[in-house]
Symmetry: C2
Subunit: 237 residues, 2 copies
C-alpha cells in the first residue's frame, strides 16, 4: 500500500471515485485503491442512451471487495443537446473537428458536483475522476484547467474547505495516453472485459468498433501490445 | 426594459434562473425578467423534506407569462448529512453557531452545475441564483467567493467559455438584506404569498414561524414595513 493516503492510525481515509463503466474510470478506481483510500464509487445515470455502461460500472466496482457503490439517476436528457442523451442526434462514426456532438452539456461539472456532495457527507477530502487531456475528443471539461478550477471551487464551496481541510480533485490519468492507462490498469489487476467504452453498444453491451471512443480504445490496446478483451458486434455491413 | 441584457435585434437573450420556491429566488426571477432576459426557470427536487417548496416554485414561475419551467429530480438524500434531506436529523428551532445542520451538502454547487448544463444547451451566457451573503446562515456556498469561483469554472467548463463567450453567474441579492430584497421584489410585482421559506412547513405549506428561515423572513417584512403574507401554522404549544 502506498503512503499517499495519509493513513491515519490504520483507518483508511475516505475518497469518492467517479466510475462510469468505461476503461478510464475503472483504472482510476484501481489507482485510488492502490493509494490506500477507502473508496466510495459514484456512478451517475444521466439519461445516457448506453445504459449498459451502468452494468459495466457494477462489474468494475464489484470486482473489488469493500467498495461502496451508489448510482444516482439524473435526467440531463431533459436539457437535450447531445448525441449521448438525445436520441434524435446521430453518433458520428468519423473523426470531427472541434467539439463533437457526443459532448454532454456540463457533464463533468455535474458529476463532480455530485461527488462533492457525497464527499462532504463522508468528510472525504479526495475526489478521483478519470478525465484525460490526451485522448480528450475536444471536450472542454477534460482539460487540466477544468480540474484545477473545480478544485478551487470545492475549497470555497464546502465546510471542509472553509474549515481549512483542503479538498483535492485527483485526475491521475490526465496526462497519460490510452496505451499508458491500459498498461497501468492491467498491472493493478483491472479486467477491461468488465468495461464499456462504445458510444453505441448493442443491448448486450457489444461495442460498435467504429465510433471515436471505440477507435481510441482499440488503438490503445494495440499500442500497449496487450490483448483487447472488448466484445465487438459481429460485422454485418 | 433595461439594457442589461444586450438585447440582440429584438430577440431576448436566454438566461437560466434557479427558482426554489423561496422568497429570494422569486425575487431574482422578477429581476431577471425586468432586465430583459428570456427566462428559463430551473427547480431541483433534491429529496428535500419540504416538497411543498416545489408547489411554491410552480406558483412563483406560473405568475409570469412565457417563462419555461423545468423541475429536475435528484436524490441528494442518498448522501445523507442534512436535516433538510435526512429525516433522522431534527431541524433546529434556536439560532446556532457555525454551519447549521440544515446545510445541504454542496447544494448550490449541484444547482449551478445543473443550471450550467441547461444554459449550455440554450447557448445562454447568464445564470441567475438567489444566494445572499447577509442572511446566509453560515452556508459556505452563499458567499461572494463561491459565486466568483463558480463563474471562473463555468468559463473553462463549457463550449461557450472555451469559444470566448463569457458565462456570468448573476447573484443580484448577494449584498442585500432580507428587508431590501422584499422591498425590491414588491416593487417588481412579486407576490410573496406564492413563496415558502420555512424549513418545516406542514403538508398544506403553512410555515412554522420558529425555524431560522421563518425568523429571518418575518423580521424582513417587519423591517421593510410591508405586510407579511406568510400563512403560519396555528400556534398550539
Amino acid at each position: 500500500m502506498s503512503l499517499d493516503a495519509d493513513d491515519a492510525g490504520g483507518m483508511k481515509p475516505p475518497a469518492v471515485v467517479l466510475v462510469s463503466g468505461g476503461l478510464d474510470s475503472a483504472t482510476v478506481l484501481a489507482i485510488a485503491l492502490e493509494q490506500g483510500f477507502a473508496c466510495h464509487a459514484l456512478s451517475v445515470d444521466y439519461g445516457q442512451r448506453h445504459a449498459v455502461e451502468l452494468e459495466a460500472a457494477r462489474r468494475a466496482v464489484g470486482r473489488w471487495p469493500g467498495v461502496a457503490h451508489r448510482i444516482v439517476p439524473i435526467d440531463l436528457a431533459a436539457f437535450g443537446g447531445s448525441a449521448l442523451t438525445d436520441s434524435e442526434i446521430a453518433v458520428p462514426e468519423e473523426p470531427t473537428d472541434g467539439i463533437p456532438v457526443t459532448y454532454v452539456p456540463a457533464r463533468n461539472t455535474v458529476l463532480l458536483a455530485l461527488a462533492l456532495a457525497w464527499a462532504e457527507t463522508l468528510s472525504a477530502s479526495r475526489i478521483f475522476i478519470g478525465v484525460n487531456a490526451v485522448d480528450y475528443s475536444g471536450y472542454p471539461d477534460c482539460r487540466p484547467e477544468f480540474v484545477e478550477s473545480f478544485e478551487a471551487l470545492a475549497n470555497v464551496a464546502t465546510k471542509e474547505g472553509v474549515e481549512g481541510k483542503r479538498m483535492r480533485i485527483e485526475a491521475p490519468l490526465i496526462h497519460l495516453t490510452k496505451a499508458e492507462i491500459i498498461t497501468r490498469g492491467t498491472a493493478l489487476g483491472v479486467n477491461y472485459a468488465d468495461t464499456i467504452s462504445c458510444y453505441q453498444p448493442d443491448p448486450t453491451g457489444a461495442a460498435c468498433g467504429r465510433c471515436d471512443s471505440c477507435r481510441l480504445r482499440r488503438a490503445g490496446f494495440a499500442e500497449a501490445s496487450l490483448p483487447d478483451p472488448t466484445r465487438y458486434q459481429a460485422p454485418n455491413r
